[in-house]
Structures are given as C-alpha cells and as structure tokens.
C-alpha cells in the first residue's frame, strides 16, 4: 500500500543557500567534481558530476563556492518550518528536498493542485525572506505529488501531480541513474537496462534471484511500488516553563516562592519525558518590561532541588541589587538547554575534582548569583609563552578544557613571575649615561641597561638577562607579535620581567 506523498524540491539548494545574484555563474565542487551549479553555469554547460577542469573550461568565470553541507542544512531549517505550516510529519531527505504525507493536507487545502500551488508560493516566500538577492525563475520551488516518496521526488523535479496508480507509467522513461545505487546502475546499464521502465518490465522474482535485496528495492521503486513509510523529524517538545506573577513580586520571599513552584513544574516536565538538562536559562521580566537572563550550568544533570536552588539564588541576586531592576518581577521563565536523556549522574572514580563539598558548591553558586558566571572561576593549566597564557580561567561548572602538557619552546625559564599585570605598565630603560636603551632588529641591545623607570621612579638595575626574542604568529598579519623580553633584578632586591615591543618598554610581570 503506497502512501500519497508530497515532495518539495528546491533545485540547486546549496547554491541558493549562498545568497548570490541569480545571473552570476557559480558552482560548488567537492572532491574535484561539481556538486551543484547555478542556473547561469548550467546554461554554459556545467553539469553535476563534471570534473572541475572541464567545468572551468566551459565557464571560466564560474565562481567557486565552498562545499559545506552543515551550512546548507542550517539554511534549510526555516524552509522546513514553512513546510510544516502545511502539514505535520515532514521528512527532510537532504537539504533542499523534503517529503511529507499528502492526503490530509490535500483535503484541508482543497485538492492536490491547490495544495501544490499554495505550498510552492509559500516556500518561495520563505526562501526570498532569507535572501537579499532575487530568486531566478528556474530556481523556484517545485512541488510534486505521487504514490510513495520515490515517485514524488521525481514528480517534484517536474513539478507535477501523478494520479494514484499512474506512478509506474510516469517513472518508466526515467534513466536508471535516478536510482541511488551506482554499483547496481552500472551493472544494469551494461546489461542493457537503461530506463526504470526496462527494469520494471522484468520479473521481480528473477531480479531478486540475480541481484539480491538491492535488486528488489530497485525493482519496487521503478514499478511505483514504494511502500516505505515516512520518517518524520521529531518536533522537539517545548520544555520551557513560564509563570506570570500578578501582582508583581517586589520581595525576595514572594519571588522565591513563585520561583520554587516554577522550578518544580520544570523538574516534573523533564522527569515525565525522561530528560535531564545540564544548562538552565533563567529569565525574568519586570512590570516595566525589563528583561534579565542568566544561564546556569551544572557539572552534571540538574536535580529538582538544584533547579529550585538556582532559581532562588538568581531571584535573590536580582532583587537584592535593587538599583538594577526598577520594578517587581512579573514573569519568570525557565528554559532548559543541553537537554539529554536522564541516565543518572556519574561521579569520577579517581578524580578528586568530583569531590566538591556541598558547602563549597553552595558558596560558589551564591557568588555566581551575585557576580555572574564569571564571578567564580576555576583555573586550569594551558600552553603558551606568556605567563598569563599559561593558565585559563573557566567559569565554575563549565567543562574544563583538556590540559595541555606539550612543550612550548620560547617560554620563560622557571620560576614563573607571581604577579602578571593584565595591562603591561609603561616603562623606560636607560644606560649608565642616561641614554635610552634600544633592541636592534637582530635582538642585540644597543647599550647596557643600567636604570629603569616605572611607577614614576627610576630604579637601578643590579643584574639583567636578555634580550629573549619572541616572534609569534608571523604567518598571521593581524596576530603577529614580535617582542624581546628581559629579566631585571633591581638594587632593592625585587625582580621584574621587562618587554620591548615596537618602540616601547613595558613591565609585564613581577617576581614578587
């Protein structure tokens, strides 16, 4: 029993997703072959599957675009939404091609022809909304309806409606290549079977005996006997929970009480679906329409108690800093992110990182409620030549990056300076005669440094080492940095890390 199926085809979707002027030839290549070509390029003789050199010889002004299926898929998402407006259970075959069951929508919209034209217009609108450039006449969406997804897809390329039972006749003249199985197609072609009609004319039992399961599938498709059911994409359920507060809550306890019940509702909703979330967005709106959002992360999945606690802390944080919100809280919305199946939490077996006492965890959450996620951070070692690059601060609760233990040629010898300034302080270095010390292009000092000035005072240099040149990212014009480093020990016993960059001296760090 084949199902009446509607297919929506956006021809040359990978090209359309790039938003280029329609009269400009362009093509996408992958593995030296044309994946998609624009209308103009096709008019010049560029074909799908053609070698790059041949394509460029036929149309030298072809603009070469990058092949990025993920981008195509992202761009297709709004189009799928437009298709879903006509009927549920849409199956995306690939970016640019989607199928859905046609019977229900056709009855609702007054016949298959009416549905077809309405959908084609709506989808063209959706595409035009995404693009700044006009749509080429040949790039318009084509909608086809036939028995089964395979026939419908081919009907869509023609923009036709195939009457029920007429699929076999419609499919017969198509070349055997439209079957998505190149090995079998090659074999069939060499056997002299060049069209779907030729294949359908054979006895199915013999085809199965000779070609196996692939042969059976090909035979079924070509005889219009495509009873594969659609695999619609799952529409994600709306998991966010909203609570309107009337009258608005001005006091912490009132807001916290409402927050608690909202949090419980969210926890129940997640539990009912067997889901857990690792990220939680808490949004509030005041009676004056101010909105605040804060995203909370949890090292593992949120427990109901943890959700309620976060909401309470956050509401306290917002309401106590009275200057920030001008009115009471009128609306609380909790939106879970990073949702996955609730599979229980795992505690590290060896790692002591997991062993955080509740006391510490609560204190950190409190600090984060007051200062934001960056208020409490966890350090981890990283690679780098500069002392401040060698550690990374990660907001508490975020996953830590892998520790980088690879060697860094050109990093400073140990010990590492204890105080590293965010912004290097300006300094001046002079020799015994008071002349400014410079570093030549070959990393040689012009004279012996004897005194350094920073913080408005001159200090005598007792011992120094350097220059140690650092030439980083010379392959990148914007990120390129060329520096020369010096260590100096001053007469008062302190030691500093000086840097010469461009025409300036800086104190970068202090060995306090």
């Amino acid at each position: 029993m084949t199902v009446r199926t509607l297919a929506v085809g956006c021809p040359r979707w990978p090209i359309l997703a790039h938003d280029l002027p329609p009269d400009e030839p362009s093509a996408i290549f992958f593995a030296n072959r044309v994946v998609a070509a624009s209308v103009e390029a096709v008019a010049s003789g560029v074909k799908k599957g053609m070698r790059r050199r041949e394509a460029q010889s036929r149309c030298p002004e072809t603009r070469v675009l990058t092949h990025d299926p993920a981008r195509d898929a992202r761009a297709f998402e709004p189009i799928v939404a437009a298709i879903e407006a006509f009927g549920p259970r849409v199956e995306v075959v690939r970016p640019g091609l989607a199928v859905m069951a046609a019977r229900g929508p056709a009855r609702y919209f007054g016949g298959e022809e009416a549905l077809r034209t309405k959908m084609a217009e709506a989808i063209d609108d959706a595409i035009s909304k995404q693009r700044t450039q006009p749509l080429h006449e040949d790039d318009r969406t084509r909608v086809g309806i036939a028995d089964g997804p395979f026939a419908a897809t081919l009907a869509a390329t023609r923009g036709r409606i195939i009457e029920p039972g007429g699929s076999m006749q419609f499919l017969a003249p198509f070349p055997i290549r439209v079957l998505d199985n190149s090995a079998l197609c090659d074999l069939l072609m060499r056997l002299g079977i060049t069209t779907l009609g030729d294949l359908a004319a054979l006895d199915r039992a013999r085809v199965v005996a000779r070609f196996g399961i692939d042969g059976e599938i090909a035979h079924r498709l070509s005889s219009g006997d495509d009873d594969r059911l659609l695999e619609p994409r799952a529409v994600p359920p709306d998991l966010s929970v909203v609570r309107e507060l009337d009258p608005p809550a001005h006091r912490v306890d009132v807001a916290a009480f409402a927050g608690k019940s909202t949090a419980d509702e969210l926890a129940a909703k997640l539990a009912a679906l067997g889901l857990a979330c690792a990220k939680l967005a808490i949004e509030v709106e005041t009676e004056h329409g101010e909105a605040r959002t804060r995203i909370w992360r949890y090292s593992s999945a949120f427990t109901p108690a943890a959700i309620a606690e976060r909401v309470r802390w956050q509401l306290e944080g917002w309401l106590q800093q009275g200057a920030q919100l001008t009115g009471g809280i009128a609306r609380i919305r909790l939106h879970p992110e990073d949702v996955g199946p609730a599979s229980g939490t795992r505690v590290g077996f060896w790692s002591r990182r997991g062993e955080v006492s509740d006391r510490v965890r609560r204190a950190i959450a409190r600090v984060q409620a007051l200062l934001g996620p960056r208020g409490a951070q966890q350090p981890t070692l990283a690679g780098g030549r500069h002392p401040c690059e060698q550690t990374v601060l990660v907001p508490w609760g975020d996953p830590l990056p892998e520790r980088n233990t690879s060697p860094w040629p050109g990093k400073l010898p140990q010990p590492t300076p204890v105080v590293v300034f965010d912004r290097p302080r300006r300094a001046d270095v002079a020799d015994a005669n008071g002349k400014a010390v410079d570093v030549s292009g070959r990393s040689v000092v012009t004279s012996t440094p004897a005194r350094v000035r920073f913080g408005g005072k001159w200090h005598d240099i007792e011992a120094w080492a350097g220059p140690w040149p650092v030439d980083e990212k010379w392959w990148d014009i914007d990120a390129h940095r060329r520096r020369a480093r010096f260590q100096v020990a001053l007469a008062d016993g302190t030691a500093h890390l000086l840097v010469r960059e461009g025409e300036n001296w800086f104190v970068e760090a202090t060995y306090d």
Partner: protein, 214 residues
Amino acid sequence: MTDRLAALLAESPAISRASHLQPPTLPVLEAFTTLLPDGGLRPGSSVQIGGVGATSIALALCAKATQDSWTAIVGLPSIGLRAANELGVDLDHIVVVGEQTVDVFAAVIDAFDVVLACPPPQRKAPRINARVRERDAVLIVLGTLAENDLTIVGSAPQWHGIGNGHGHLAARTLHVTATGRRAAARPREVTIWLPDENGEIRVAQQATVRRLRA
C-alpha cells in the same frame, strides 16, 4: 580514683586541656613550620602578609593546605596561577573569585577553608575577622588587615642565577618575619629559599626564635 584519672589524663594528653579541642591546624610546607606559632595555619585566624615577596609567601603558605582543602582567591586578578602551581598550589582546589564585596566575602569565608584576598575596607575588618573566627576559616590578606592574628613580612630578597646580560632568575633567598598576638607575640624569623634552583621551597638558614631589636 584520682590516681586513675591522673593516669588517664597522662595517657591521652589531647583531652587534658580544653585548648586542644580546637580543630587541627592546616598543614604548611616544612619551611614555614618554625615560623608559625602553631606549626600550621590555625583555623579561625587571619594572616596579613606584606613586604617584599608577599605574593610568593602567601601562595607558598597555603600550598600544602590546597592539597586537601578548598581555597578561594578573592579580588586578586593579577596573581600568576602558573607560578602558584609551581609553588605547590593544587589548582584543582582553587576557585578564583573576581570581585570582592562584603556579600562575596561572607559567602566565601563561610565555605572555604582558606581564603586568599586583597585587603577588605578598613571598617569592615572587625566583622570579617569575627566571621573568620566563627567559621574556622583561614584568611590570608595581601596587604594590611586591622586586628589580624599574625603579620608576616618578607625582606632582604636576594636573587641568584642572573648576571650582567646572562643567566636568568633562578633562585631567591628571602628573610621572613612573623609577629602576632597571643602565642605569636614573640617574633619569629627564618630565611628561606623561595624558590631554590630546583623550584623547591626550603629553609636557607636554621630558624632562630629571638626577640627582634627595636
């Protein structure tokens, strides 16, 4: 009866005096044991560190404690955490807190065993000290803290390994003095390698406990 009680007390000196019932001190590196009156960081005490090398002293002082206890670094954005790691601080037990407000201080002192911070406002010091005592935390302040229990000052730094245009900063000796209240009233001093050429922290000169001349 009294004989038996006396014998019991002799067997277990820990219960003989009430002052021994306070929580155990947090361990410190061997170089600091003679410097601190209790041989470690006493929970519920506040320490002020100043002079030369204050940051290194502060990090080295809490290095051993971070192996098992959680430490918060509050309001010290320029502290070099790689250097802290080299001085023996276990970064897995460190939380870096950006700003230092009274609320943040209170939350952090309540939960963390060791708090390394920049000086709080002068008038808040008594309240913060009281909270530290109540919660059995150790507060180490880089700078001045009124009514502290212990003041540690670094002086007479001497760098080794660096010449005139050659070598590099490799090792440093530092003279460290500790004075304070109660048991710490008698000043103690020690000269330590912070660090020595192998990156270790050790006593350079046998610690001497003597009264400093005024």
